[in-house]
Symmetry: C2
Subunit: 284 residues, 2 copies
């Protein structure tokens, strides 16, 4: 099976490494010549080019993974649609689905929306890693093309992912809570700490920040473009989640202000208990 | 040198392991007989007892580390003051200093306030770890007892910690930002996610939560008693930090609501840049 990957960053590069290690033929497309060369030297791809026209035997490609930033997914599907043979399937990896799936399927019927929930702090092909997707969850969105859906599901499963079928709207609301909101609140924590006006307090805050601050701000202080695109392409769900989050913060601040320590204790105990509902499956 | 440790949890137990590995004589005091036995079997202490009266040759103790929960520090200092010889020094490890240092020094002149900023998700003696404190920051508060201050500083430095001299009030404001606020906002994130009323969205939020959610909520979903005590004993600074944090969140929500994507991008870029100001020294 020949697999194409457009966009050779962390996700595209890691996908290429995984598929190549399975003995599949993989081509990669990147705007950057240096990225193409690195993908080749890592053994992630058989062919890496900067223009679709340069791919030899494009007709043999069974599926293309669009791994560009969110804003480039639809233009890329448009470009691929004008070059690919009709049998080829297209999927993507974008962290929003409502803004993409329906439009992409209107452009190209054999499009299936995917969202593999894997990542790390570093970006780019240099950070690509064999096995990045193993044991992580992956959403696949509904499609009337049953054959395309089955292939996409089986490829993600083959990388060790736990695949969930989920419609784009539900997906976007769910990831607003557990993926996009953490970015917004981590970024705001860094801003708030940085706005402290007493230079002595500021100095010690910087010197004393340790693993708690590091972990809480990891995604909020990560890739700025990704954070902006989450807000931009999942605007409604992110604003709803932000507003409900602010209501929770108000409630906690009120309990502290009232010196209601048993209620604060109870709030913290619930947080500890409920957290495991969101994370327990990662141990399976 | 004989060292005493009151409270054999994660911090007390790890301290005992470190000091024992340096060849020092260490006694431990815990309310729990099982904890005492575990500390002995781990080789963390030479003697472990459940009552101060049972410690042989208490007169030889040069310094006692109070490693109890925050609320027990002052009662413990009071208890120690009535048993220790006048030459013994007392220090603590509590994450607030304003509520402790002055009162403890009034009870016992040779008290020096400390706050080693080290930890992990697990609690209790079972989680104790050799080298837990290495390369982490530690605050030591001013004292007129120059000799006591020098001993406390040198013992922390000997564990590989970066020691900072900081007055209690400044310390409490700084840790409100980088240690206590992350707990409050992580706990509120878990509450907000759990309040989602659409069961389908709730289901997928739980299934799709991955490393971003895990890291952002690690301290917020940690030890509930510690979270409550931070709020209780550092109430004023925590409320100030919460309020300024909420203003930052409001600002970000407004930018998103205005669809001002270049400003959101800029907000995320600043977060990424500023984060390194708080974390860069951890690579030294």
């Amino acid at each position: 099976m020949q697999i194409g990957i457009v966009g050779l960053g962390l996700i595209g590069g890691s996908l290429a490494l995984d598929f190549s290690s399975q003995g599949r033929s993989v081509w990669g497309l990147s705007r950057s010549r240096a990225t193409c060369e690195m993908a080749l030297s890592m053994g992630a791809v058989d062919t890496a080019v900067t223009a679709l026209e340069e791919i030899p035997q494009l007709v043999q490609t069974e599926i293309v993974f669009v791994c560009t930033p969110i804003a480039q997914v639809l233009p890329t599907v448009q470009l691929l649609a004008s070059h690919l043979p009709a049998h080829t399937i297209i999927t993507d990896v974008a962290s929003v689905k409502g803004a993409i799936v329906q439009s992409a399927q209107a452009i190209y019927a054999r499009f299936v929306g995917s969202h593999p929930m894997a990542g790390k702090a570093e970006q780019g092909i240099k950070a690509a890693q064999l096995g990045l997707f193993a044991n992580c969850p992956c959403v696949v969105c509904p499609s009337e093309d049953v054959e395309a859906l089955a292939l996409v599901r089986s490829l993600w499963t083959g990388l060790g992912m736990q695949v969930y079928d989920c419609d784009p709207h539900t997906h976007d609301q769910a990831v607003a809570w557990i993926s996009h909101l953490p970015v917004m609140l981590g970024a705001s924590l860094i801003h708030a700490c940085q706005q402290e006006c007493d230079p002595k307090v500021q100095y010690f805050a910087q010197k004393l920040a340790s693993s708690g601050f590091r972990d809480t701000t990891r995604v909020g202080g990560g890739n700025p473009e990704l954070g902006r695109l989450m807000a931009q392409f999942n605007c409604e769900a992110v604003l709803t989640a932000l507003s409900q989050y602010q209501a929770q913060l108000d409630h906690l601040a009120q309990l502290i202000n009232q010196e209601n320590w048993s209620a604060v204790q109870n709030y913290m105990e619930n947080a500890q208990t409920w957290r495991s509902l969101f994370l327990e499956k990662s141990t399976h």
